[in-house]
Each structure stands twice: as C-alpha cells, then as structure tokens.
C-alpha cells in the first residue's frame, strides 16, 4: 500500500476551513489527513474535546461527512452503535443509500481515550466492531484548560499538576495505551504523527482496510498546552520521533514493526533539546532538577528498548535469523 502524494493532494478536503482550532493546532491537520484517505463514505464520531468543539459550533459544521458527537467517554460505544446500525440496515435491506462498505471512525483526545473513555474503547475493541479509533494525543486535557491526564509525560507542567516550589509537575510516567490496545489482540494498532504524512496516510489506509477494529495513536503537539511557538508544531512532531519520545511503529496481527529507527551513532535530536523548546518542561532545566531530566531520558530509553525487543520477539522466524 503506497500512498501517492500527487493523488492525495488532489482529493477533496472533507474538513472545511473556518473551524475554530487555534493557530498552529496540529489536531485539525490530523483530521484533514485522515479524511483525505477515508473519503466520503465515512461516518465520524467525536468524543467531547478540542476537535469536537472547534469543528461543530452550531449552526456551523466543518464536517462534510456524517458526524456524531454524544459525550466525552463514549465515542467508541457510539460508533459501535452506528456501525452495528449499518450492518443491521444492510441485512434488512433498509439502508438509506446502497453501500457495500462504509468507514467508521471514532476520534477522541487522550482524556477521552486513555482515561474516561477507556472502558468504552476496550469494550468496542473486544466486540470487534469494524471501526478505526483515532486518538489525538496532546498529553493533557487541553479543552478544559490543560489538566494532567494519564497520557501526560513525567515532569510536564499542567494546571492540575503544576510545577511549584515543592512539586515539579507530573509525578508519574504516562500510561502506555498503545500497548493496552495491542493486548486487545485487534488486527491493527499503530502510532504516528501528522508530520509523517506518508506514514500517517498509510496507517489510516491499513486501519480502514482491516476487517475488525483498528487503533491509531497520533501525537498531537499542542501549542497552548505545551507552550511552544505555534509555527513549530510539525517540527515538534518530527523531533519527537527522532529522539524516541514517540516512536513510529505498527502492530499488524500481533507483529511489531518499527517504521523509523534513528541512527544510534548520530541521533538527529536529543530528548532534552526537544523538551527545552516546550514551556511545559521549563522547570526541569532549573538547577537542582537534573535528576528529573535524567529520569525522562531513562523512561524514553527503556520504552524504546522494550519496543526493539518486541519487534524481534514477534517477527517471522525467517527475519529473526537475519537480526
């Protein structure tokens, strides 16, 4: 499955401009890229959150495809209903327009996915609905004012776990939701970012093609919540992959594949340099907090090592020999 950029850019934009996303928001960019691949025969569900709020202020909508929002914690259940409705109406011969296949996409932020929506997501994945769940992970509750979520990385400043005189931001590492989704043994799980457009488009295409549920975790740097220059959102995505903070990988039927491996001898960016560009980590660079920075690096290294091992462990026997 090779994504053709020339073809992709000629496709109709199904998320119209004029929505209310912040200047420099990388989330709206994710939605546009997803929709370029998904096309018109797609029904989208949104969990309450930034992307829902900015795209559907009544009486306007940015969505040129059918779209439904019902609540914060239940987009997976809502889309379960829509997808089941499709199968049932097809079986009864009652579809309003004849289609052999439609795409069902549920979209939630990390709050609606890692936290309050985890149960509904788990249920939908276990039941095997033919849907793609896309988490736009901006690592905190941005829509309600940058509160910490279980996706917030260690040390990050948020409004509910702020850096202060005695505390230095979030005290826990982020939850590994992608691994939790892999544990559901669904056909397709992947991580990507909107900077890596070919990677993202290919993964959306694969996710839509599988028979059953698929999950994509997409890093969404937030200019407001992470405190960086709105112009550099895509640069932040690029570097997050280069320094292993957010590896690009996919798990197809249980087999891990890392889509990008930085050169060990000459890594393009260092984690600390990447963090320095973001106000949410500012306090970690104050004298006395060196150990916390080391902890951040250790976590990223440890997760990367784990990922490398998983790739080897789940590889086909032939490729194991060549490792």
């Amino acid at each position: 499955m090779a994504v053709n950029l020339k073809k992709l850019v000629r496709k109709e934009d199904l998320l119209s401009g004029g929505h209310r996303a912040c200047a420099g928001c990388t989330g709206a960019n994710i939605l546009r890229q997803v929709m370029l691949v998904a096309g018109r025969d797609t029904i989208v569900g949104g969990a309450t959150g930034c992307m829902e709020v900015v795209t559907t202020v009544y009486p306007y909508t940015a969505w040129k495809v059918p779209y439904i929002h019902t609540a914060f914690e239940n987009v997976a259940a809502t889309i379960s209903g829509v997808e089941t409705g499709f199968r049932a109406l097809k079986k009864f011969g009652d579809l309003p327009v004849e289609r052999e296949k439609m795409n069902f996409i549920a979209i939630g932020g990390d709050g609606g996915t890692y936290d309050i929506g985890l149960q509904s997501l788990s249920g939908a994945m276990e039941r095997g609905h033919n849907m793609v769940y896309i988490c736009y992970d901006n690592e905190a509750y941005m829509n309600t004012g940058i509160q910490r979520s279980s996706a917030t990385p260690f040390g990050a400043h948020t409004s509910t776990a702020p850096a202060g005189k005695v505390k230095q931001g979030k005290e826990q590492n982020r939850k590994n939701l992608t691994a939790i989704m892999v544990a559901h043994e669904i056909p397709y799980v992947a991580q990507t970012t909107p900077f890596h457009w070919r990677d993202l488009a290919t993964k959306v295409e694969k996710a839509l093609a599988v028979d059953g549920p698929a999950f994509l975790n997409v890093l969404m740097p937030c200019t407001i919540g992470w405190h960086f220059d709105p112009a550099i959102g895509m640069q932040i995505c690029k570097e997050a992959v280069e320094n292993n903070f957010w590896p690009l990988f996919e798990v197809e039927n249980g087999k891990y594949k890392i889509n990008y491996k930085p050169s060990e001898k000459k890594p393009k960016t260092q984690l600390a340099d990447w963090m320095k560009q973001q106000g949410r980590f500012k306090h970690l660079f104050k004298p006395g907090n060196e150990e916390l920075l080391v902890k951040c690096q250790e976590y990223v290294d440890q997760e990367w090592e784990k990922l490398l091992k998983l790739e080897v462990m789940t590889a086909e026997p032939e490729s194991v020999k060549t490792v």
Partner: protein
C-alpha cells in the same frame, strides 16, 4: 381478531413485544430484574425468530451510547435496564431525547442504591422524569406488552420523534407469571409499521452533523423544540391507543379511571399497585364509601388538563409515591398532581410514600389510606406527607 391467550412473566411479554417490532438493533447490559427480558430476546435472536443485531456492551452507559449511535444511524433500536443501570446511563438518557431519537427502552423499575436492593420502587424512573423521554407506567404483563408495542408507534411518529420508556415493576410484574393475550407477529408488526428515520447518519449522500456544540444563541430554542415535541405526544398517543383498542379490544388512555365517576375520595397510583388498590376500593364500595382510583399511565408528558378535569371537585385525594424526594415536599407524583390542581377549589391532597425497596404494598395499607381520606373529607387536619407500611 384472534389473539393467543398465554401465560408469561412480564419480562417475557415485553421481550415478545420488542421482537414483534423487528428492531434493527438492540443493546444490552445485564442488571436484575431486567435480565430475563434480554435473555428471552437473545433466545429469539439465537433461534432466528428475529434478525436484530445485538450489541452486548460492557456497561449501561455504553448500552445507551450505542443505542444512540444506532438510532442516529437510522436503525430502529431498543434497550432495557433497571435501577443503577439507568442511573449509569443517565447522562446519555438526556442526550437520546435531545437528539430526538425514538429509542425504545424497557425500564424494569427497581430501587436505586444504596444500600443495594434489587426490588421494586420507582426511584430509578423518577430520576429520568425531566430527561425528555416519554414515560408510561404499567399495571401488569398485558399492559406492559401492549404499552411496549404502542410506544414504538408513538415515539417514532414524525410529530414526536422522542425516546420512550415502558416502565413496569421489578419482580412484581417482571417475574410474575400472568395471563395475557398476544397478537400474532405479523399483526403486531403491521400495527407498528416499518421505521423510517427522518435524518440518518448512514445517508452519506446527505451528510448531517449530530450533537454539535450548542451555546447561548441556540440551545434554549432546541430545548423549546423538545418541550413542543412532548406536547405533541398527547394527540399521537390518543390516536395510537384508539387504533390499538380497535385492533385488540383493549382500550387505554393517559390514565385509567376505576370507580371514579361518583367518587368523593380518590387514590392516585402508578404501576402494579393499582391491582391491590382496586381490590380494597371494591371492599369499601361495598360498605358504601365513595372511593375510586386514578391509575396514571402516561407520566411524561404529564396530562395536566385531563387530570385536572377528572380530579377537580373531589373531597379528598391521596397520591401514592413509590419513591422519595429527600428533603422535598412529598414524592414526585404528589407534587405534580398538587401543582396541577392548584387553581381548583380547595381539595385536600395528601401524599403517602410507600413500597420503597420492594416493601410489600398490602390490602391493609390501602385501607389505611382510605380511612384517612374519609377523615380528611370530614374536615380533619391530617399530616400532608406520610409514610405507609414503614416499621419505626
């Protein structure tokens, strides 16, 4: 027309009605005493008696969320729950009505926790009285079956497009074998008719956005449209009930009047308690006491004009509530009835809260209320809000 006389528990009877509606989708999560309704329906599916696609969700919150998704897709959709399950789906109960989705739900009435209790009272459904759903309460299995069928017609009517709850008392109706008449499948389905959604998400050629952010400039008007839709339930329900009466010989109205014509004293109850009340009313009628019953069926929308017409000018009224409003002035049915009659000549209206957590409502309790009503009618000043059948 020919109807089959059968013996079924209330849960089975309602499962039968749901099957006969041939819903596209049903969602369900287990909770006592609703469970057997879903067991029965699952059997129909497993035996190919109905083609419904089931979504067996991981919680009631998801049961209602999935029902909303399915109904918004354009599918005839049902679900069922009780008590804490209804409480868990509460957020989505409001969304279902706000999105004007005619989901049909069996609410098998059970006390809310805590402490946990599996038996009947109406505290669950009363939590949903302001949610925008149609709420009908039933006295027995026959009425539950008939109501479930009629509710599809009423809720899906183009003038209405609101979700509907068929309320029947946990265990007392749900688990009690009762004699009832069933329509044959085709007759029942023909009565309900096929479902045609006005707007469907699956109509990808005419994309719609459902559930947008709705702020100060439009939200109020959308709430108004829900209020108006509730008002339109009255003529539609009348029409459906009258057609059902012609079809089956069983007539229904917003409420049932039992020995009410010349009654000075009136009791108002919901649900299965009507049967017990009727028995004791018969006894008192034999003694020459002019007492009657108003069994309220349609609680939402509340048929205020009709209730005022029937209750105005009585000597004393007892409203029985099978749920408490802690810290409030009496139970929810009481405050509603009393408020409805405010501008009428001063009829004393008293409240008895009874049967919480399935506490038995027995003949003695009905007699106690009727005795008190007689004293009130004779001019005695008695306490306005009372507890019935409590052990203190």
């Amino acid at each position: 027309m020919a109807q089959n006389l059968v013996a079924l528990a209330g849960n089975e009877a309602v499962a039968y009605a749901f099957k006969q509606a041939r819903p596209h989708v049903g969602s369900a999560f287990p909770i006592t005493p609703q469970t057997e309704m879903m067991h029965k329906f699952a059997e129909f599916v497993a035996n190919g008696e109905v083609d419904t696609e089931m979504i067996l969700v991981e919680s009631e919150h998801s049961a209602m969320s999935a029902a909303i998704g399915s109904a918004a897709a354009g599918a005839r959709t049902f679900t069922a729950t009780s008590s804490a399950g209804f409480a868990l789906m509460w957020e989505m109960v409001y969304v279902a009505a706000s999105l004007r989705l005619p989901i049909n739900m069996a609410l098998v009435n059970r006390a809310l926790s805590g402490n946990i209790n599996i038996h009947c009272d109406h505290s669950d459904s009363m939590g949903g009285r302001d949610s925008g759903w149609i709420q009908v309460f039933c006295e027995n299995a026959q009425e539950s079956y008939d109501t479930a069928l009629m509710n599809f017609r009423i809720s899906e009517h183009m003038d209405v497009r609101l979700p509907a709850m068929t309320n029947y008392d946990g265990f007392i109706i749900s688990h009690t074998e009762d004699a009832l008449y069933l329509l044959d499948d085709d007759t029942a389905y023909d009565f309900i008719g096929p479902y045609q959604a006005k707007y469907a998400l699956l109509d990808v050629e005419n994309p719609i956005t459902v559930g947008p952010l709705d702020l100060t400039d439009y939200y109020f008007e959308h709430k108004w449209s829900q209020m108006e839709a509730q008002k339109r339930v009255f003529p539609v329900a009348r029409e459906v009930m009258s057609e059902f009466g012609e079809l089956t010989g069983r007539s229904y109205d917003f409420f049932e009047e039992y020995r009410l014509d010349d009654a000075d004293l009136v009791m108002v109850v919901l649900g299965s308690s009507a049967g017990t009340t009727k028995d004791v009313i018969d006894e008192y009628r034999d003694k020459g006491v002019k007492v009657g019953l108003l069994k309220l069926r349609l609680f939402r929308p509340f048929p205020v004009a009709e209730i005022v017409k029937v209750l105005a000018g009585r000597k004393a009224i007892a409203v029985l509530d099978r749920s408490a409003s802690f810290g409030g002035f009496g139970g929810p049915v009481f405050t509603e009835i009393r408020s409805a009659l405010y501008r009428q000549e001063q009829t004393p209206i008293h409240n008895w809260i009874y049967g919480l957590g399935g506490r038995d409502y027995d003949l003695k309790q009905v007699a106690e209320v009727i005795e008190k009503l007689q004293q009130i009618a004779a001019g005695e000043e008695l306490q306005e809000v009372n507890l019935l059948g409590i052990r203190l």
